[in-house]
């Protein structure tokens, strides 16, 4: 386990060096999308149409932030549960997505796809949303404004604290962590 300063967009080399359990400070542009936005993004990919952002090297953050106050860059913005995006993620990984940020474990299909397509999954601390907001330096809605909190936003983050859960070698921090602390009885 190591601490890594990481900047987006991510390339295959950067991603392959990450290991499950690493602590990461992520900086650069990332994009927000959750259930409703994923449905639309995947439809665009399937139709061969252009997406609202370049998927190649991209990191998607599963979040629906609280609305910002006047003058506030970002209100509370912690991760949502990732498994709901599992059905959409392999296709996005095949089209260049390199990382996703959420909470909770991923399906075996997503994990296999991350090994095959060289992608990683990061965990942010769910419920620690006011703290996470302070690492967001810019935010703008770039698509699907009608979805409200579920709109796609471009964020610029600075040293956003994350843990690497799934790396490109098939390791899973949830499995490893629970196995280490599980007791009989």
């Amino acid at each position: 386990m190591k601490t890594v300063e990481l900047k987006t967009p991510l390339d295959e080399k950067q991603v392959s060096e990450l290991e499950s359990g690493d602590k990461v400070f992520l900086s650069g542009e990332i994009y927000t999308a959750r259930d409703a936005a994923h449905k639309r993004l995947v439809a665009l990919v399937e139709e061969g149409k252009e997406l609202p952002f370049d998927l190649r090297g991209a990191v998607i953050y599963y979040v629906g932030p609280a609305p910002s106050r006047p003058g506030q860059v970002m209100n509370s913005a912690g991760p949502t549960t990732s498994y709901r995006m599992d059905v959409f993620t392999p296709l996005l990984l095949e089209h260049g997505l390199k990382g996703s940020i959420g909470k909770g474990p991923r399906s075996m299909k997503v994990r296999d796809s991350m090994v095959k397509n060289k992608g990683v999954y990061f965990a942010a601390v769910g419920g620690a949303a006011a703290g996470i907001a302070s690492s967001v330096k810019e935010a703008e809605v770039i698509a699907y404004e009608d979805l409200g909190p579920e709109a796609v936003r471009r964020l610029v983050v600075e040293r956003m604290p994350l843990f690497v859960v799934n790396d490109t070698k098939g390791n899973d921090l949830f499995e490893a962590g629970v196995a280490e602390y599980r007791r009989e009885g």
Binding site: G104, A123, G126, G127, A128, G131, E150, F174, G177, R183
Partner: protein
Amino acid sequence: MRELDVARITEAVKDLSIRTNIYLPDDVKKALRESLEREESPMGKEILQVILDNHDIAEKEKMPICQDTGVAIVFMEVGQEVHLVGGALEDAVNEGVRQGYKEGYLRKSMVADPVIERKNTTDNTPAVIYTRIVPGDKIKIVFAPKGGGAENMSEVRMMTAADGIDGVKDFVVDRVSRSGGNPCPPIVVGVGLGGSFERCAMLAKEALMRTIGEPNPDPVYDEVEKDLLKRINNLGIGPQGLGGRTTALAVHIKMVPCHIASMPVAVNIQCHVSRHGETII
């Protein structure tokens, strides 16, 4: 008869919606602090510290603790001596939610059609409202914003008498085990026993409102709670599911009588942002 304008209810619900989303009850904060002292996993400790720091940031900046400011669950006990004037009670509650979520810059998380259209109602209404008529001339309002992630890990099971208390315990532990890191552990586990299909689910939610550290009034079920808490924390799920000793802060059981053929059991999972507050008018 005491006459009461429903505008008072709107005002109370508005205040509660903002307050409960920024300030966590002291018992929950205390339980989290204590869990940090017990936690063995270094990553688990780090996560618990981040969670505790987040409470301070939320209070200082007047920001919601979690961006998921929840479906507005409202329990009301309305005294039968109260005569409400000025409009419909449920409209007044929803107006309070509407105003609180707007003025508090809280997330609007409700979709009108749950399955097909899923269009956001844009004001976090409707609230989920439960009203009981009780003796007296007061109105008690309990407001609990409930996040979706933990709610999704909840379950009702119609068990049989033959399953017994061991069957109930296995079901509760299994439900938590299958939830893993999804519901944002450390969690609070609400268990409803008896009643009917829908009543036991209600009981499980009501059980979440109990103060952590307050024992179950029934010593037999108090022991069951302690045993369940131990078994759940032995699962090793830990803070955020990344491994550790702190999977649950508490298990709360609430029970009522039931039919001779039935043994309904409900498990309602609550994330570590266990928000609830109350006002008496």
